[in-house]
């Protein structure tokens, strides 16, 4: 008999490790205060849960629905986003519903990116962008956000792209740039001017834009979420991605969508019909009903899109205060539900620990086991050249109920006492 020759395909070579697999396991211990992975421990709004109960009671809704998106859901999405974008959006041709924003990113990348292409990724980045680009056979090209104030950052607005550096990264091979605003992990909300710089380059080089806007509703006072697809010349070259999980605090529903011109979306639909075909029906129906409820009150401050942001803003402020009280300088985010902080000033000596790992990885593991508090190391969100730059930062998630933040407060307040 021949030796078993079956190894993995080339497309997944080197893509097997994953920060979440590692850190979710570590933080799974219930005694640990988990501010790591980005998931709410607050309940979704009750009407959202009720709509799902109602949907499962309808027999037909337990069977297959339209592959590219349940009709009532794509209709609701087209209405909400027509209003936001100020342009007509065809529910059947301009929208694809997928398994979370994650699945939407995958569809976009598989549809439009291939070997020979380069894809610009802004660092730090949501970690899946890099392996997805690689799996499509393309080359990720990184460009870092740089701190304006010589490293003394107090706000996510301090982190900016250098326009000349950005321009230099574009060439004839640049197929797409991935933009994430509000940004994970910094919470930066790109301004219109910043997006215009990116848009100008996209138009000049005929580059596509994949715009990950999952945190679009989580924008804090003084900031406005701008959709790059609404800038002149951008609609025809942009795929905009959204998420039910982030919009309605139901990450476990795994529903997301891509919106864009038919000329691009049709290719995402081809990927979709050859990968998962359809998404769960009752979840889509419930989401559609929830959207109708909030669509009708989009002029009302009680609309969940706005009330959630208000709720999160006070949690953000609380989290920032707690970190400041320990003597840290958190980077206060303008949006999203994460906050990053430089922990090098705590001077925790981990030189004895495994040298191959970056400092932030070692720090978080140490913090989980000795302080019972979890976070995510920022170097997980960096390309190879930048990891060293960001290895003194960790990311906390603050979409947590009061009791969780209370427990985090106790740990942080007692921090110095324990290490003394």
């Amino acid at each position: 008999t021949m030796a078993f020759r079956h190894k993995n395909t080339r497309r997944i070579e080197g893509l097997d490790s994953n920060v979440w697999v590692e850190f979710t396991k570590l933080a799974a211990d219930p005694s640990i205060v988990n501010l790591g992975q980005g998931l709410p421990d607050v309940s979704p709004p009750s009407y959202v849960k009720e709509e799902l109960v109602k949907a499962t009671a309808v027999d037909r809704l337990n069977q297959y629905t339209r592959g590219f998106g349940h009709p009532s859901l794509v209709k609701a999405l087209s209405q909400v986003y027509e209003r936001v974008c100020g342009r007509k959006i065809d529910p059947l041709t301009d929208i694809l519903v997928s398994v979370g924003a994650y699945g939407s990113l995958f569809s976009a990348i598989q549809a439009l990116i291939e070997e020979g292409d380069e894809v610009l990724i802004i660092e730090p980045f949501y970690d899946c962008y890099e392996p997805m680009v690689k799996m499509a056979g393309a080359k990720p090209v990184f460009i870092p956000l740089r701190c304006k104030n010589d490293g003394n950052s107090t706000s996510s607005a301090d982190w900016v792209l250098d326009p000349a550096e950005l321009a230099n990264k574009f060439n004839s091979k640049t197929k797409a740039i991935i933009v994430n605003t509000p940004h994970n992990p910094t919470g930066k909300v790109f301004t219109r001017e910043e997006l215009q710089v990116i848009a100008d380059l996209c138009i000049k080089h005929d580059t596509l834009c994949i715009s990950d806007e999952v945190y679009e509703w989580m924008v804090y006072k003084g900031n406005k979420h701008i959709k790059i697809a609404t800038l002149p010349g951008m609609w025809e070259r942009t795929i905009t991605i959204g998420s039910a999980g982030k919009t309605y605090s139901v990450t476990g529903w795994k529903l997301g969508w891509s919106i864009g011109p038919q000329s691009l979306i049709k290719h995402l639909q081809v990927v979709h019909q050859n990968t998962l075909y359809a998404c769960p029906t009752p979840l889509q129906e419930a989401l559609a009903q929830a959207f109708w409820i909030d669509y009708k009150r989009m002029d009302d401050p009680d609309c969940y899109f706005y009330s959630l942001a208000r709720e999160l803003e006070s949690k953000r402020d609380r989290m920032a205060r707690l970190l400041q009280e320990v003597g840290l300088n958190p980077v206060v985010p303008d949006g999203g539900y994460f906050i990053i902080v430089d922990i090098s000033t705590l001077n925790v000596d981990l030189s004895g620990v495994d040298e191959k790992q970056h400092y932030d990885y070692k720090f978080v593991k140490w913090m989980i086991s000795s302080k019972k508090l979890s976070a995510i190391p920022l170097s997980a969100f960096c390309g190879p050249e930048t990891k060293k730059q960001f290895e003194k930062y960790i990311r906390f998630c603050f979409i947590k109920k009061d009791s969780t933040l209370d427990a985090a407060e106790v740990i942080l307040k007692n921090w110095n006492k324990q290490t003394a």
């Binding site: 008999t1 021949m2 020759r5 079956h6 190894k7 395909t9 080339r10 497309r11 997944i12 893509l15 097997d16 697999v21 979710t24 998931l39 421990d41 309940s43 979704p44 849960k49 799902l52 499962t56 009671a57 027999d59 337990n62 069977q63 297959y64 629905t65 592959g67 398994v99 994650y102 699945g103 995958f106 598989q110 549809a111 439009l112 990116i113 899946c128 392996p131 997805m132 060439n171 004839s172 005929d206 596509l208 999980g245 139901v250 990450t251 476990g252 529903w253 795994k254 000329s263 691009l264 290719h267 081809v270 019909q273 050859n274 990968t275 998962l276 359809a278 769960p280 029906t281 979840l283």
Partner: protein, 440 residues
């Protein structure tokens, strides 16, 4: 720098003249369902086309779903473990461990996917590289071919060939068989995998132990992987046994077995599937999954886990859903067989699944002759039938590769996972049609 900006307009022109989409989408853009589902939605009064039940999932499953939703634990609305919700992978490991005769680790031998469809996608992406050949048995569930192509592989087709049934009897799906020599000839140095679907969609064939041993021997001889799509594993009739190829000699290490909650529990809209296999193959499926969708919906997994818990407790007992469902479906099968036979279409009695294929070669109808048409006869027939008779079915040529579509173009596939009222309505249409023909 000035040199590159000098060339920029030319290279920009080149980029703009290239198609925007990736080459991997070449030849995979057509999809029979997009077309036929639209036709059925527009014209059909009785839809026996797309494969889904028109009866609800069992009460115990709907109750499990409601319990999960209304319980105190609202964390069921948040992410669960990416490779599969712990309660679900645990029960699947227990259940399938027994059936496969293996000690299964829920964390490394089982992975949950968004339906069996995504399970198939993960398998092709994990194992099929450019230049690899994948053997597909015709007729086949249509997604196998585009998925192999999208992975850069070359599909190699081998047909089930119908043998004439013994005098006077109706043909059975068992009469469609592989030619052993023909099958063996399809294995080459480049063969990476074979896709097996038993019970088979669309024919309803349930491969016998002997037939599976033939395939297994070739897999072992040529060191080939087996992707075993067993979504209809519980839907077998007339006391037939569903044999799992992974349980045959030499096969566990080279087989990934796919299942579906949609088919198992009559809940196709929940899109929960799974793959079971050896760790050294599963690890690559994990890699694809974590880089494509990562997590599957939590609540659905929780409910399916509870469904399996119930079935584990009732396994082999008369009120097990896995015993009741095939019993009910067998009766529906027999009803449809009678209707088609009486109408002059020649049903091929399926041993399994909820599909039935009928031979329409002698069913003279009003479908206009279209000389020099590229479209196979059965496709034109099915379209004409739904538009003019309101009865939706799927042409068998949809389940063949392009080169072979015209070899088997006088068969259509019906789905009989339907309420009795639906099957009676189908019967009314068929008998009326027959009367109209004989009277004209």
């Amino acid at each position: 720098l000035s040199l590159s900006s000098h060339f920029l307009p030319l290279s920009l022109q080149a980029k703009m003249s290239r198609p925007v989409q990736a080459r991997r989408l070449e030849g995979v853009d057509k999809n029979i369902w997009v077309e036929f589902v639209k036709l059925a939605t527009t014209y059909s009064k009785v839809n026996l086309g797309q494969g889904f039940p028109d009866f609800p999932p069992p009460d115990f499953l709907k109750e499990a779903f409601l319990r999960a939703l209304s319980g105190e634990n609202h964390m069921l609305h948040q992410y669960t473990r990416g490779f599969g919700h712990p309660p679900l992978v645990k029960i699947l490991a227990q259940f399938f461990g027994k059936l496969l005769g293996q000690d299964l680790d829920p964390m490394t031998n089982v992975m949950v996917t968004v339906g069996a469809y995504q399970a198939l996608f993960c398998c092709f992406q994990a194992f099929v590289d450019e230049g690899d050949e994948v053997i597909i048995i015709e007729p086949f569930f249509d997604c196998y071919e585009p998925m192999v192509k999208m992975a850069g592989g070359t599909p190699v087709f081998v047909p089930l060939r119908p043998k004439a049934p013994k005098g006077g009897k109706l043909m059975s799906s068992a009469d469609w068989q592989l030619d052993p020599a023909e099958l063996a000839s399809k294995f080459s140095k480049r063969t990476k995998a074979i896709v097996l679907n038993s019970p088979n969609n669309p024919l309803g064939k349930v491969f016998s132990r002997g037939e599976l041993e033939l395939i297994a021997d070739l897999c072992v001889k040529h060191d080939v992987l087996c992707i075993s799509d067993e979504v209809y594993e519980w839907l077998v009739y007339d006391g037939k046994e569903h044999v799992r190829i992974a349980s045959l000699q030499g096969m566990w290490d080279r087989t990934v077995t796919i299942g579906s909650a949609g088919k198992t529990f009559s809940a196709t809209g929940w899109k929960v599937g799974w793959i079971v296999g050896p760790t050294r193959l599963m690890q690559h499926l994990h890699t694809v999954h974590q880089n494509s969708v990562y997590h599957c919906a939590t609540v659905a997994q929780e409910a399916v886990a509870q469904g399996f818990q119930r079935e584990l407790e009732l396994y082999g007992k008369p009120n097990s859903y896995f015993i009741q469902l095939p019993k009910e479906l067998q009766q529906k099968r027999d009803l449809l067989v009678q209707s088609l036979d009486a109408a002059g279409m020649k049903p091929i009695v399926p041993e399994g699944t909820y599909f039935l294929v009928a031979d329409i070669s002698e069913f003279k109808s009003d479908v206009p002759d279209v000389p020099n048409s590229d479209e196979p006869y059965d496709s034109r027939f099915a379209k004409w039938m739904v538009k003019n008779k309101g009865l939706a079915a799927i042409p068998l040529s949809a389940f063949y590769c392009g080169a072979h579509k015209n070899n088997y173009s006088h068969f259509i596939r019906f789905c009989f996972a339907k309420e009795e009222a639906t099957l009676k309505a189908a019967n009314d249409i068929l008998q009326k049609w027959k009367r109209e023909k004989t009277s004209s």
